[in-house]
């Protein structure tokens, strides 16, 4: 009995540290570095997205680098890049929950948050890209806005439906997961206003058995709905390209290729976020985001890198075996037709992650940062090659053209990065970054398992 009581005190002190860390992250004062990066990101978002969007709306899409031969440029590259990151977040969270991966607890909430911010960034590009921003509402399913209904058989309409469905359910999944932790902040935070706001957001949660039962069952069911949804959504994004007749786009391998690429880049981004969170919140956070966790995410990245290698091999072998314009296009990429992007893609997506075969390197923060940036750069280049290079190379030599991004294109990209960073910093600060109940439950289960084993 004495032993039991002693164990109880150990458990409660560990729980206290967990709860203290979550509460401290929500109400501690921001550091100078945090403020500096936040202000810089907001300015980048305001100028990059705000001013550029106004410029496109007032002067037309002529301010972008697109033309008749290359109608989809850097904006669509960025759209696919961000939507890929966004799709990875919830998939990581939901699939790891369904497969019972206990190490998901510290990364799940961060991955879900990444989804919301990335999809918000992605949504800007197609809206701005239509040129007449004030007419973007016409893609919404409203009757007879222009004498015709939106064509539900069009891949672009599938995309609109899929992304809005995905965003809506991701927000709900994230918010439901937050409820117990918001209640904890309501109970533990200082400041009347803060407690009031968290209290409203917690909807009156107090942790009864009935509520926990619903919460656990609901989380699993939502994850079961989200997992196929995510796979379908990025497949639908790939249909934007693969249902066309453009060489480099018209490929049946695109749906799994896009899904694998999205999870790959998303996990690399999660690694970067974990490192950044550990850097900005040193007290207590290091206990959860440890080298072992980085190692587990590293294994994930390594596995997906190998999958991407198979995908590339498949794509190129199909083109070479079939011959024709497809072979000409892909040969051109290898010969440097797409500039440095093909080689950067190979280095970032296939070669750098091979460092993760080494356990020590998988757990090293500097190596993780280098590999994660490499993967993100590689995946960006992959999207550049698919979107732009395929359009640059026409069916015949006379149809070839060169796409040069304008400054507005580039600023849009910088602005989206600023928006992502600013949104993430705010949300990670005002909402609990860790799912406290989930982590506590895992800690208990681990202790019980180790106790039973001993």
């Amino acid at each position: 009995m004495a032993n039991l009581k002693h164990q109880g005190r150990d458990d409660s002190s560990r729980d206290d540290l967990l709860a203290h860390t979550v509460v401290e992250m929500a109400q501690s004062r921001t550091t100078f570095a945090w403020k500096f990066i936040f202000v810089l990101s907001v300015l980048a978002a305001l100028y990059g997205l705000g001013f550029s969007s106004w410029k496109i709306a007032s002067e037309g899409v002529g301010v972008l680098g697109v033309g008749n031969s290359v109608p989809w440029g850097l904006d669509i590259v960025h759209f696919v890049f961000w939507i890929g990151l966004g799709h990875a977040g919830t998939l990581i969270s939901s699939v790891l929950l369904l497969t019972g991966q206990h190490w998901r607890s510290p990364i799940a909430r961060g991955a879900e948050l990444m989804t919301l911010c990335a999809v918000a960034c992605a949504a800007v590009f197609p809206i701005v890209h239509v040129g007449r921003i004030w007419m973007a509402w016409m893609v919404s399913p409203l009757p007879d806005v222009s004498g015709i209904w939106p064509d539900m058989g069009s891949a672009l309409m599938w995309d609109v439906l899929a992304v809005t469905t995905y965003f809506s359910l991701s927000v709900i999944y994230w918010y439901i997961g937050l409820l117990p932790d918001l209640a904890l902040l309501r109970d533990r935070c200082s400041g009347a206003l803060r407690r009031k706001l968290y209290g409203l957001a917690a909807l009156g949660w107090f942790g009864s058995g009935r509520q926990w039962g619903m919460y656990e069952r609901g989380s699993v069911l939502m994850a079961a709905v989200l997992a196929p949804l995510v796979v379908s959504v990025h497949s639908v994004v790939s249909f934007d390209f693969s249902v066309t007749q453009v060489h480099g786009w018209h490929e049946t391998i695109f749906p799994p290729y896009f899904v694998a690429g999205a999870i790959f880049s998303g996990m690399a981004m999660v690694q970067l976020i974990l490192v950044a969170i550990r850097f900005f919140n040193r007290s207590g956070v290091g206990m959860f985001i440890d080298s072992r966790l980085l190692g587990m995410t590293g294994r994930f990245v390594l596995g997906l890198s190998c999958v991407m290698g198979v995908m590339y091999f498949w794509e190129y072998m199909t083109a070479f075996l079939n011959g024709g314009a497809e072979k000409h296009l892909l040969l051109n990429r290898i010969q440097g037709g797409g500039g440095w992007s093909f080689y950067l893609m190979i280095v970032g997506n296939l070669l750098l992650p091979q460092l993760y075969w080494g356990k020590r390197w998988r757990r090293s923060v500097p190596v993780v940062v280098v590999v994660a940036f490499g993967v993100l750069a590689g995946m960006w280049c992959e999207r550049w090659l698919i979107v732009v290079h395929s359009l640059e190379k026409g069916w015949r030599e006379i149809m070839n053209s060169v796409y040069i991004p304008s400054w507005t294109d580039c600023w849009m990209g910088v602005g989206s990065l600023g928006l992502f960073v600013a949104l993430y910093m705010v949300l990670a600060r005002i909402t609990p970054f860790f799912s406290l109940c989930d982590m506590r439950k895992r800690v208990r289960e681990t202790e019980m398992e180790s106790g039973a084993a001993s």
């Binding site: 809506s168 107090f206 619903m214 949804l229």
Partner: protein, 191 residues
Amino acid sequence: MNGLENPFSGGWVARFQNEDDLLAAAKAMKEGGFSNWDVVAPFPCRAMELASRENALHFPVKCLSLWGICGALLGGVILCLWITVTQTNDPVLVAQGRISGWSSWPALVPALFEGILLGAGLGIACGLLKGASLPNWYHWVFDAIQGKGNSGEDFLIVASANGGQGVKDALESLNPLSIDCVEYFNERGGL
């Protein structure tokens, strides 16, 4: 008042030191045959499986799947109706000579799929909120906990007065850290 003779009722809130003590107390309550009591804890724990909420749990956890299925069906039906109206009855955009309406049904599958999943997700979310009685701006257990300066870390057994004779004595015999009597207004009664 609303046809009820005694809308004011009473209940008890017993605090325990940790999860193990809570589990032992929950087992004792179950063996004692008491009804209408529940467990409050900062995370899901084994004691919750033993709780007895006959008078309050009109919505079993298993029903959540049913909400999801109903939501999925509703989403699918709405999408079908919408597609029927927009793609067959009214003039539609004919792109590249493609047949419109249900004749080109494979092209409508992605939209239907998304609608079904959206319905299922919304159904589960609504069912979860209903089953967990959220949002809930008044609950006697919540008020009782908050009134004691809740830290969000308590392991409690809450028992309604109509859960059977001798509930209080039984709770006291379980050696809780503290036990409080709470008077509350509850038209329905129970938890």
